[in-house]
């Protein structure tokens, strides 16, 4: 075989084309440049991918405190998103609103959300989701959420810091069935109803309901963790702190007890039959009236869809004081801007929920924001519903409305990030494989 090839003389080589080597050099330099750019791009992509994966792991305690700008609500709240992250993974900063959003017709897809007071950040409160039957309060300054349990006795409450994502356990000192009622304007005290499970009643279905029926009032000092029992106030249904924070109004049956923070009763204000104190926001901004809504003596508002309007009436604290006229068509009274303006949720004839500023003297209404209650929940099979709506009542005096921007729902869930990172990793791997083959 070798002889056969040896006998094959090569044809004489033609001269090389003009500029052959120059073209080689030009192409070689271009190839080197492309390779460097490609390598840099690949490494940049890798670094960015890892950064995107790792950033949420970085402790967020060093985040700056809430900015000192005017708090506001978006002119419309963002629609439902299954990708919304949690407060614990990505702290949103101070919140203007907290509500439960979604539907549970086919699947339980309710989300306990907080909405930023300074920008359009939406986060789920993980501590609420972790509880079996949660109940929660948003602090008046919008920086904390207090989380309790509705089912059975509990020995502690969870305090979630919205500016850092950290959570702290508040030991109750004993085991109680608890119903969270109201948070004082200075953020120090929380009024709650507490009951010890009565074994004769069997397994409690709702601690909240037991605390309502059999419980007594307790005033919890969050700064020390100690709570003061006020046994004289039994079966507390609703509570609201006075604007100056020095007193608390607590409804028991058809009477509202006015107490100082040591639990000393200062006055009792009767409310009409079938009326109940507005939870959390029932004390007017000038401290002269108590706001009431219809109440059948047993029902609690938590967990009910905010769709039905009712009439708010006012009861003067001091006898002889003329009360403001009733305000009709209010779903929830949420707080006060000043003595003449209150913030309330209302619903139109189609059940669409909005946030309004209501003027007591003139009866004027101004829409501040709207909720998306369209067919976008449960994979676009059900209407989205809002329940348990609360506002950061301490931020309402200066509240503005901002144009809603692209909603910040926080980092994607880990599983989804991993899935999204796979194609990127594949591209990087493919690039290196191709480069290796070419070289």
């Amino acid at each position: 075989m070798r002889d056969l090839f040896t006998a094959l003389p090569d044809d004489p080589a033609p001269p090389l084309a003009d500029g052959y080597l120059d073209r080689v050099l030009v192409r070689g330099r271009r190839s080197v440049r492309r390779r460097r750019i490609g390598t840099a791009a690949a490494w940049t992509a890798v670094v960015l991918a890892f950064a995107a994966l790792l950033v949420p792991v970085v402790p967020q305690a060093e985040r700056p405190a809430a900015p000192a700008r005017r708090p506001s609500v978006p002119d419309h709240f963002a629609g439902y998103s299954t990708l919304t992250s949690t407060v614990e993974r990505s702290a949103p900063g101070r919140a203007i609103a907290m509500y439960t959003y979604g539907n549970g017709e086919l699947f339980n897809m309710f989300q306990p959300l907080v909405v930023g007071a300074d920008k359009d950040t939406y986060r789920r409160v993980g501590a609420v989701e972790e509880r079996d039957k949660p109940q929660s309060l948003l602090s008046p300054d919008g920086t904390r959420v207090l989380v309790g349990e509705r089912r059975g006795e509990t020995t502690d409450l969870l305090l979630v810091d919205l500016t850092t994502g950290d959570r702290r356990s508040i030991d109750l000192g004993a085991s109680f069935e608890v119903r969270l009622l109201a948070w004082s304007p200075d953020g120090r005290y929380v009024a709650l109803g507490a009951a010890v499970t009565d074994p004769s009643q069997g397994q409690p279905d709702s601690a909240e309901y037991d605390a309502l029926r059999h419980g007594t009032l307790r005033l919890l000092d969050l700064s020390t963790g100690r709570s003061t029992a006020v046994p004289s106030v039994r079966s507390p249904f609703a509570a609201a702190f006075a604007p100056d924070g020095a007193r608390v109004a607590v409804q028991s049956a058809q009477e509202v007890h006015l107490l100082d923070l040591l639990g000393t009763e200062q006055a009792v204000v009767p409310v009409g039959a079938g009326r109940g104190l507005v939870a959390r926001a029932g004390w007017s901004a000038d401290g002269r009236f108590l706001a009431t809504v219809p109440w059948d003596g047993t029902a609690v508002e938590d967990g009910t869809f905010l769709t039905e309007n009712a009439q708010v009436t006012f009861v003067p604290i001091a006898a002889g004081t003329p009360a403001p006229p009733p305000v009709a068509d209010v779903v929830r009274l949420l707080g006060w801007r000043d003595p003449d303006h209150m913030i309330a949720a209302t619903a139109d004839a189609q059940g669409r929920l909005s946030l309004n500023e209501l003027t007591l003297s003139s009866g004027d209404r101004r829409v501040l924001s709207r909720f998306d209650t369209g067919m976008t929940c449960e994979f676009h099979l059900q209407h989205c519903q809002v329940t348990d709506l609360q506002l950061a009542t301490g931020l309402l005096a200066d509240l503005g409305t901002r144009a809603a921007e692209s909603a910040d729902h926080g980092p994607w869930p880990w599983a989804l990030r991993a899935v999204a990172a796979l194609p990127l990793a594949g591209l990087v791997l493919l690039y290196f494989l191709l480069r290796r083959r070419r070289s």
Binding site: M1, P9, L16, A17, L21, R23, V24, R29, S439
Partner: protein, 161 residues
């Protein structure tokens, strides 16, 4: 820049050898020059690695053979076409028909078979050198050589030995 000067000096010195190997693989000078250009661009990219290799010639030969074989894996970019038919000059010198027969038969082999025969018998490389150029084991070189020779014999009507 110094690397580029060394590269240019090397290419100028070894260009005839590279063109000859490329021609033996491709069977056409135009295709051979394209193949050499592909090889030299890759060599430019990896010149430092090549210059540090034990044998620069062996390194470059491997690049060139890989570029030749890679063309069969790139159906969308076939720039180097093996000669399917070798034109016979009008004035044929003595023995020219035999040479044409062998080259025509080579052109009908697969690229892998053609490469292994060219390297082993035309470039006179041993099994280890051929394996290094092809990027395979010596055992594979031996088996592929055997298959290629059998194929060439069939194409030449059993005369090759």
């Amino acid at each position: 820049m110094r690397d580029e000067q060394e590269f240019v000096e090397y290419v100028r010195a070894r260009m005839p050898v590279l063109r000859r190997l490329a021609y033996r693989l491709c069977g056409q000078w135009a295709a051979a020059d394209d193949l050499v250009q592909e090889c030299l661009v890759a060599l430019y990219r990896h010149w430092r690695k090549a210059a540090a290799a034990e044998s620069v010639d062996a390194y470059v030969r491997a690049i060139l053979v890989h570029a030749y074989l890679a063309e069969r894996r790139r159906p969308w970019a076939r720039r180097v076409q093996p000669a399917a038919e070798v034109p016979v000059p009008a004035m044929s010198p003595p023995g020219i028909e035999d040479r044409v027969d062998v080259r025509a038969a080579l052109g009908r082999l697969t690229r892998g078979q053609r490469a292994v025969l060219v390297l082993r018998y035309w470039e006179d490389l041993d099994v280890a050198q051929t394996a290094a150029a092809l990027g395979c084991s010596p055992g594979t070189v031996k088996s592929q050589t055997s298959y290629a020779m059998a194929a060439l014999r069939r194409l030449l009507g059993g005369d090759a030995s």
